[in-house]
Every structure is written in structure tokens, then in C-alpha cells.
Symmetry: C2
Subunit: 345 residues, 2 copies
DNA sequence: CTGAAAGCGCTAACAT
DNA sequence: ATGTTAGCGCTTTCAG
């Protein structure tokens, strides 16, 4: 802003001391006597002094800020992680510079540039679904910029990352479905070029194989992570009269799409068709029936990510990367939650 | 970060020119010949130069950044607004420094200090539910800092604000309920010390009065904005065997609480008890039945807020404040959406 | 077209 | 205990 801002110099002149004295006094430097400190603080308060962080950071060559890049905000998963990241940063006197890539690789790239220009101390990134050029990230690494990737992770060696155990979580869900008696299990799988899509379908397949349940490729549908896709995928199978007994969806919105479609065609969940999804959201318990899911502990993801980034910031020399897998747990509510003897064939 | 960053000077030395030349070349200043520009750009690219925005901003005495303070993020309403704000900022080459007050007045105050220290060009604020000391905001105004308040607005004269027409929206919802035949209309009202609570109940009452429908004070319950409160309020009336025919809830989570409670006691929405709420959320259409609501156009709020803040930033002299009321519209889905002849008594 | 000088506000290092 | 000097990286005069 263009307003006249009070500077150290202004205070110094008023008190007939040097800027350095004021600077030190305000930062409680032991050099300065208690009396002068008190006076200086009082006056600067009165004058409405507010330190210029730009100048301070320029001088200190660090910003006390962490840059964050996420594909979107208005989404339970990212919203919750971001909120937690903010809280942790606040407790540690760090600022967060949040940017949104809108799932676009070019925007992501621009944000990286901007954040580097802002001289953030580190970067936390969740890459877009369409990112396929990883050179930007590589150059980040060779430059030695502290970076931690969360959830959506580029296929690069030796990077710090915090990831949900997608495979294990998917496995848990499918295993549970099998254990309560399901045999005809479908999977709406999202995009398989994204690591979460890849991992979740892997967990699905592994559970099926481990328990000797046949995988019907007709019931595995790729396509997207949004509710629209769940709706369409359901309708496709419905029209083919080829629905499984239960569908494991790659995300929670996809399950919403299934709910909507099922209601439209008059099928009752969980009796006519059952659902379980990957991903927690606060509204699931209010659905009818309440939707069971694989919970991804957003708080833990945020905590670990911040822990790693701080570690990296404080040990710039350290080069071995850490890969953290966050364990998931099944939250069983109104779906996929009772033995299905009626299906025994 | 502590890494060696390339500076203008580094490039200048390498090319045996002055920093100024490099600076100008990189910014496409007409002073510099096409040839040198080309060369300098090529080299700085090669060297991986990234301008130090801190230094640039310090020199320019402005930051090209807007500070935003919201009570929370993981919430549909704020999430959607923030997302839009980010997009608009991006299009205008502005940075957003987002901070979260966690509904705590002291944190809010700290954030204001920090953002001022960062020399943001302007501030967009949605105050906490517990803020009751408005002097911070007042001093902001006297300092001449461009500020726009959104949604949650302090009772101060002459401030820029963007507000949803809460009263009008509530009026619309209640009016609609009346028109389709409801007489026994309740209102779960949230906190009345917050402007949105105050306005919404005012709209409720006004509609009731305008249409000559009797207000039963037993059916107006204050208490909070979360689902828990909706649940409790419903249960209270249920236990007293004193439920109205329809409940207008102050927020969408409160309606969720009602859904949950109603299901628990075996009452069917909308037949046994009907609901309509203030506030849009993407999941409403997936509820059973899909929940009708008063939509608050988050995009418009964000757009207007950004418009006002830019206006203010570009005209620091301007002192007359603008107050924008964003119109709402009713989104009718599965609730509060059919004539209730069966209730005629 | 190019560059030298000065300053943005602050702090670390080195006197006094 | 206080002040002087110099520099963080960039940009805006203004002179050449």
C-alpha cells in the first residue's frame, strides 16, 4: 500500500537514537538497557509501528514462509489438510503462501516460479492430475529447495513425500466386502495415470486375488474422480443389466454419483446395490444410508508434511529423502456393513 | 532458503554489463536494445535466475499481494469463496496471503498485524463469531488501509463490505414455505450476536408477519451453526412432542443435524417433517431427500470483494465506502417443494 | 542505449 | 550500552 508507514528510522529520529538501537530494542536484544527498551517500545507502539517483513526477510535472506501448491481447495480432502497446515504453521510462527493450480500443469509451474521468487523456505506440493512433465520438480531438487510432496506424487527418485497408504486402504475395503460375503465386486477406478488411481486399483486387485474372488473386468470402469463419473459408470452397467452387488469407488464423490443414479433407477442402497468408497468426508454420515469409507487421516498427512518440511529446512545438507505412508482405517456406517447371506448363490 | 540464488548482479558480471541493464532488459524496458535483451534473457534463463520479489517489493513499496482472513477453510462456503478469490487474483497477477483465524479473535488480530507487516496492498476479512472488539478494524480504516469485509461484518460506519442478502434470502425461503401451505414453521437460528444470525431470523419473522402466519416462540431455537446443534434442537422439540411441520435452518449443517435426528426417531423428511436451509453446498443434491436451500452465490461474493479491493487499492484517496448486497436465490429440490394439502386443518 | 548513484527498511558485524 | 558501516537485491532517477 502507498500509505506512509512508520519505519525504524522515524522512531529513531523522534528519540534521537540510531536505527540500530531501535531495531535491537524492539527485538529484545541484550545490548540494550531495560530502560531504553521500555521507552522505545512504548513510543513505537504509540506511533503504530509495524515492522516491514519484506525488508527483514531480504536482509535475513529467508522468509519464514512455506509455499503450498494444491490442485483445488473447495474439496473436503484438501480443505482439511490445508486447514491443518495453517494451524501448524501458525503455532510455529511460519506463514503459509497457498496457491491453487486448478488441476492445470502450467499454472502449477507458474506457482512454483512465483513461490521461488518469494523466497519461501520450503514447498509442499500436491501435483495436478495432468502433470506429466516432471522436469520442474527435478530442477527444484537439484537446486536443493526443500520440497515435500503430498498425496499426489511425481514418479521421481529420492523425493520427500507423504502419501496415504492407498493400496492398503483399498485392500481393507475390498477385503471387508469379501468377508461379509460379497463376490460380485466392482470398482469405479478414476484415472489410472494418477498414483492414487493406480494404487487403489492395485489394492482392489490384490484383495480379490488373495481371497480368490474372480475379477470381472466389465465391473472395473475407469474415468474420473467426480460424482458425474460415478453416475455415468453406474448407468452404463445398469443399462447393460450387468451390475455387481457392490461397488468400491475410488473417491467419495464417485460414490455420491452412484447414490444419485441408484435412486433414479429405483435401486436401494445397500440392499439392491451396495457401495463403499475411498476417502472420508464429513457429510457421509448424513447420507441415506450413511456411507462407509476408507478414511484418510488428513490431520496426520498435514502433520507429517510439516514435520518433513521443517526437518528439511533446518538441515539443508540432508539429502536422503523420506517417504511416509499414512495408514488408513475403515469407517463402517450404513453401507457395506452386514453379512450378505441373501446373495448366496 | 539458504541456497545460493542467482541475482541480477551475477548475470551482469557474467555479461560484463551493469545490473541496471540486466534489470531493465528482463523487464522489457524500452531503454535496452533488442539484441542485448535477447542475450540477457537467454543467459538468465540458463543460469536459472528467479527475481527476488522481496527485494522488488521493498524497492517498489508495495507487494502485489492481498491479505485474506477467514475464520476457517474446511467449510463449503469459505472454501468456495477462497477458491474463487485465488483464481481472480491469479488472473490479475496478484498473490493472496491467506490466513485462518480459527474463529478466534486474538488470532485474527495477530493475522492483521502480520499481514500489515507483509505490506499487503489490501485486506479482505470475514470476522470471527466471537470478535467483539472492533478497534483493530477501526485503526485499519484510519490508517487508510484498503479493507473489504465479507459475509461477517463488524458494525462499523463507512466500511467496504460484501454481504449476502441474508434477510431477503431467509424471507424467500419462509415465504415459499408459506405459499405451499405451511403454517407451523420453526426456525433453528444459530447465534443472534452474529450478523448473519440476526439477519436471517429477521427475514424469517418478516415473512411470517407479512403473510399473517403466527410465530410460535417455542419453535425458534438459538444455539449454533453446526450439525450438532441442529440435532439437539430437533431432539428437544421432539421430546417435547412439539415439532412444527417445517424447519427453516440458519445454515446447511444445522439441516444435516435435523436429517440425522429425524432418521433416528423414524420421521420421514419431507412428509413427517420438512426442512429448508440457508446456504448451498454441493452435497445437498445427494442427500435423501435432496435438500432445498437458499443459495449464496459464493463466486459473486468473491468477485465483488476483489472488485472493491482493487478499486480501493487503485484509488487510495477514495473514502466513501461501498456496501454490496448479493442477491440470493432459492434452490428447490426434494424438500419444501410440494403443496401440503395434507396438513390443512 | 547504458550505467553510476542512491535508496527501499532492516540487520549483522564491527567499532566506540 | 549505543552507533557506524555495509549490504540484502532490486529499481528509479539522472547523467553520460
Amino acid at each position: 500500500m502507498k500509505l506512509k508507514q512508520i519505519t525504524l528510522n522515524d522512531i529513531a529520529k523522534k528519540l534521537n537514537v540510531s536505527t540500530v538501537t531501535v531495531s535491537k530494542a524492539l527485538r529484545n536484544h541484550p545490548d540494550i538497557s531495560f530502560e531504553t527498551k521500555k521507552l522505545i517500545k512504548k513510543i513505537s507502539e504509540e506511533m503504530g509501528y509495524s515492522p516491514n517483513i519484506l525488508a527483514r526477510n531480504l536482509s535475513a535472506r529467508k522468509s519464514n514462509a512455506i509455499g503450498v501448491i494444491v490442485p483445488k481447495i473447495a474439496h473436503y480432502f484438501f480443505g482439511a489438510i490445508i486447514e491443518k497446515i495453517y494451524n501448524i504453521a501458525f503455532e510455529n510462527n511460519y506463514e503459509i503462501i497457498l496457491t491453487v493450480s486448478q488441476e492445470k500443469a502450467e499454472i502449477e509451474k507458474k506457482h512454483i516460479q512465483t513461490l521461488l521468487s518469494m523466497r519461501v523456505d520450503g514447498l509442499i506440493i500436491s501435483i495436478t492430475q495432468q502433470t506429466n512433465d516432471y522436469s520442474v520438480f527435478e530442477s527444484l531438487l537439484t537446486k536443493g529447495v526443500p520440497v515435500v510432496f503430498i498425496d499426489r506424487i511425481p514418479p521421481l527418485p529420492n523425493i520427500n513425500s507423504v502419501e496415504v497408504d492407498d493400496r492398503g486402504g483399498a485392500y481393507k475395503a475390498v477385503e471387508h466386502a469379501i468377508k461379509i460375503g460379497y463376490k460380485k465386486i466392482g470398482h469405479f477406478a478414476g484415472y489410472l495415470n494418477v498414483n492414487i488411481g493406480k494404487e487403489r486399483i492395485a489394492g482392489f486387485k490384490q484383495a480379490m486375488n488373495d481371497y480368490g474372488v474372480e475379477i470381472n473386468p466389465d465391473w472395473i470402469i475407469e474415468g474420473g474422480f467426480g460424482d458425474q463419473y460415478g453416475y455415468e459408470a453406474f448407468m452404463k452397467l445398469y443399462n447393460e443389466k450387468n451390475l455387481p452387488d457392490i461397488i468400491f469407488t475410488v473417491t467419495y464423490p464417485v460414490a455420491l454419483g452412484v447414490y444419485k443414479a441408484a435412486r433414479e433407477v429405483g435401486m436401494k442402497i445397500p440392499d439392491d446395490i451396495d457401495v463403499i468408497c475411498f476417502g472420508y468426508a464429513d457429510v457421509q454420515e448424513f447420507l441415506h444410508p450413511p456411507l462407509s469409507c476408507v478414511d484418510q487421516p488428513t490431520d496426520k498427512i498435514a502433520e507429517k508434511a510439516m514435520e518433513l518440511i521443517f526437518e528439511r529446512i533446518n538441515n539443508p545438507e540432508e539429502t536422503t529423502a523420506k517417504h511416509v505412508l499414512i495408514d488408513t482405517n475403515l469407517i463402517l456406517r450404513g453401507t457395506c456393513n452386514r453379512t450378505v447371506s441373501h446373495l448366496a448363490k
